[in-house]
Point group: C2
Chain length 544, copies 2
């Protein structure tokens, strides 16, 4: 029987490992690739999707086009039985577990984001890791412009027109560059917004941005961003965030309704369920890319800690988590696995970066290509040429080139395709004094307090007096929707820094309908509080 | 002060009304357009988006590009005060109510879908009205191919490879044509699926498809669809549906995991809150497009009942709900409103259809242009030329043309961009005997029974015996997730035709965390049932 090589993960590392193994081994082995999505995401193009320079489908290619000859399985990895050499996955809608046998296992699960260290970031920041993230950021930015154009409240307008990017590395700088370009080119369609009202800020905790690049190039980038009106705050990080404000480590409070977090990269949590040793959070491998202690388990890419020399100890002695390295590691892995099958000796991996490129948007970039430092328009062109050549498949290249051409000649579309469905119950943070809702607002959420305190001020329906209540962890409010209320009859304000859980109206009502005990509990609560009587300003008809 | 004309609705009727009014009146009036989305959807291209021939952003154009000089407001209409001539809308995230004054109100709220008459359709069918719908259908079809390629269960494969479209009008026929083309062109990438395993069915309740077209053209379309392997069942409708089956009015049960409903068109529910008379569910207007009884309220488009002659009584005496008519109505409305402002007499509206075009996908179509009947490739070319010319804006046209060119030369992308977020609590229907989940499945949902009965079979943890329970309306199951369970330890099956409410794992746990009474209730319930003990096959670690 042919040996089976099972690869987990469909990013640069996993995809190129599959392609290289197939190229080398052809029919001599069965190769299977397990991924959560059925497409390959060309991550360097994400900022372009966020800025609207290209459409989301142009940054992805079906794995089936790129990995011919390899069996593809869209499934969720559950666990690994290293003795039996079996991986359990969940596939399809029903989440039925399926066992997949392997002779060699390649762990290429990549990286993830963990923002939980900073209060409010996980709940309120947008990330830039996936295709959804890029699409969501673009829609979010346009929604802020739409709102800023029509609001009459100055603090709402200011918050809507302030955009903060946390992190001044490649991802942060390329994202802020594209985001600013989208905003600048769209303003002419928003007559109530003047360019001076827009504020774009980058927070970088280190001494300079683009720490991985040559200092001269980073310095050029700083000047270029500044010229375009982007504020860069060095030696500054984010201390906390809510849906309407961000507080920096310098204690500056910025009214801001768009926070993009490009920090918090962490290896995929799933590696902890792999039969491997973990070192510094990543899969420990030796110089041949074999996982320590097991001859048939391998790892590469962002999730692996790959020593580039013997006696590696310093951070720079290990392979950086970049696409450039992932692709070279994949080629090396294929050679070593083929060698194993042939009983030949394995080779240690080593590679030195050939350079780096970053786009600053607006036809400017910085590039370090084999030592040569290039800035401005030539660097930007080089960046685009490099990535188009790098894109797998002719039609992917043609589509992206054509889109870039059209983008150069016509305005950026400000179509805002909203998220499909209402969000599930989620956490929201408020700073002391923030208003959660006001009398007269549309009643569209049910709230429970997770921590902190909420002050509710309204008129008692029985006496007409103004009434104040303080609610704490475990208490809830906003449940009058159960009685058909469509407008708020009280004002809710955060009395302390507070975290709440919010559930949408439709869902709350659906749950009350489906779970009689849930409904009864709230009806009783409202009756006890004297809140079940109709209140001033309320109309009995259902919204919509 | 200049007169204010407020238009509600941004489809063909509303957008063209805004453009025409601006063109005629220029600075003489203030024109404002209130819409729920900030883009104009070119609906005829939706099937192309569903089939993957073009990307979603190419079927939409920002309203700001198309309605220059018109004030645009993205907001939800709440109510109208006809005496004060004010509309109340909700805008922005906070849902703060805002009043907008008008001198003339134009109601162009369009149509909506109501599938509630057929059990299961609202819960399980996909519609083809919005951009989300088209995107979702494409992703859904590809997900079925992905699953069919890897599943080892024949009934699952059959259901995944059966696709049913309900309704044989324009929308249904164009959608089935594109959907079949997407499937046909993608099969080569799915090695475990053979073309003969795919089944595509159209259910049409009338005697023929394309009832609005000439019978000869409809007959050509029937032959063409049949040639391509699409089954058309005439005089057949849908009696009921679940997530895995559809039952026809002929009592045929079809295993099918994709149901597209193009029936159920109904005027937008919001018109009932307008200060107008309703007739046959639509806004009653006279021949000048003025709403009966009010001199300053007008209506047009799909939501209006517009008589084409005096003494109109039969259905055919009224304007059909098509884009062609909406655009002519909009021009006429602009003339009549201008006449009103100038004190000149109003004109009655009349128009005869110039023809109709329908694409059948795969380079074939049918067209009826001013009496000339055209079929096949020329009709398909004509359809494309007509719509490209009709698209507003040069760059929209260029993008669509280029995409069509690339589509002709390269494989259709089978990238499946899944929905962003997990769905909120939703209703799911099961037919008697359907399995809801099985022992060993991933535990990812909490269920409550809305109607019908569910049988749970599992092993009693205390005695080891097999135990059966029947749950009915108001009962719930699947709550063991609260104890950290990640796998099902029992099997749940529909004992009757049943409707349940399902809530996802993450959300259920989040709610239990936020609402202590919710958590306590379930903990108590599990203890009473003896279900709080660890069970065979269960692992204590959290999933992910």
């Amino acid at each position: 029987m042919k040996p089976r090589i099972l690869i987990l993960g469909g990013g640069f590392a996993g995809l190129y490992a599959a392609r290289e193994l197939h190229r080398r081994l052809r029919d001599r082995a069965e190769i299977e690739l397990v991924t959560t999505e059925n497409y390959f995401l060309f991550q360097p193009l994400l900022p372009e999707v966020a800025g609207g320079a290209i459409a989301a489908p142009h940054a992805v290619t079906p794995l089936r086009f790129l990995a011919r000859g390899v069996k593809l399985r869209k499934a969720l990895v559950d666990s690994v039985d290293a003795e039996a050499r079996e991986v359990t996955v969940f596939q399809g809608v029903q989440r039925r577990p399926t066992q997949i046998r392997y002779d060699h296992l390649v762990v290429a699960l990549g990286s993830s984001t963990d923002l939980t260290r900073t209060p409010g970031l996980a709940e309120h920041a947008l990330t830039m890791k996936s295709l959804h993230d890029a699409r969501r950021l673009r829609a979010h930015v346009i929604e802020r412009l739409e709102h800023a154009d029509i609001t009459e409240l100055p603090e709402v307008k200011r918050g809507a027109l302030t955009f903060t990017v946390v992190g001044g590395g490649f991802s942060g700088i390329e994202t802020v560059g594209e985001m600013k370009e989208l905003i600048d080119r769209s303003l002419k369609f928003y007559p109530s917004i003047s360019p001076g009202e827009v504020r774009v800020v980058v927070l970088e905790f280190a001494e300079r941005i683009l720490g991985e690049m040559d200092p001269k190039l980073a310095s050029y980038a700083m000047k270029e961003l500044s010229r375009r009106g982007i504020e860069v705050k060095l030696r500054t990080g984010v201390a906390s965030a809510t849906g309407t404000q961000i507080v920096t480590t310098d204690d500056e409070v910025i009214d801001c309704r768009t926070i993009v977090a490009t920090i918090g990269n962490t290896p995929a949590p799933a590696i902890r369920r792999m039969p491997v040793e973990i070192a510094h959070g990543r899969v420990a491998v030796d110089r041949t890319l074999r996982a320590s202690g097991r001859a048939e388990v391998w790892s590469l890419g962002d999730c692996a800690l790959i020593p580039l020399k013997d006696g590696a100890s310093d951070r720079s002695d290990f392979a950086p988590p970049t696409a450039q390295f992932a692709v070279r590691e994949a080629r090396h892995l294929a050679r070593n696995i083929a060698a194993t099958l042939d009983g030949k000796p394995l080779e240690p991996f080593s590679y030195t970066s050939k350079g780096a490129l970053a786009s600053l948007g607006a036809h400017r970039g910085v590039a370090d290509v084999m030592g040569a430092k290039i800035t401005g328009f030539p660097a930007w062109l080089l960046w685009r040429a490099y990535y188009v050549a790098f894109l797998p498949g002719v039609s992917a290249r043609v589509k992206v080139l054509v889109n870039w051409l059209i983008d150069a000649l016509s305005p950026r579309s400000v179509v805002q395709i909203s998220p499909e469905d209402p969000p599930t119950a989620r956490h929201v943070l408020y700073r002391v004094g923030d208003r959660i809702y006001e009398t007269g607002n549309r009643a569209d959420g049910f709230f429970t307090v997770m921590s902190g305190a909420v002050e509710i001020t309204g008129r008692d329906p029985r006496t007409g007096e103004e009434r104040k209540r303080i609610l704490r962890a475990g208490d809830h409010f906003g449940e009058r929707m159960l009685l058909g209320a469509t407008r708020r009859v009280a004002t809710a304000r955060a009395a302390e820094d507070t975290k709440v859980l919010v559930m949408g109206r439709e869902e709350f009502l659906r749950l009350a309908e489906g779970l009689p005990e849930f409904r009864t509990y709230f009806e009783r609560y409202l009756a006890e509080q004297g809140l079940d009587l109709p209140m001033e300003g309320e109309s009995p008809e259902a919204a919509e």
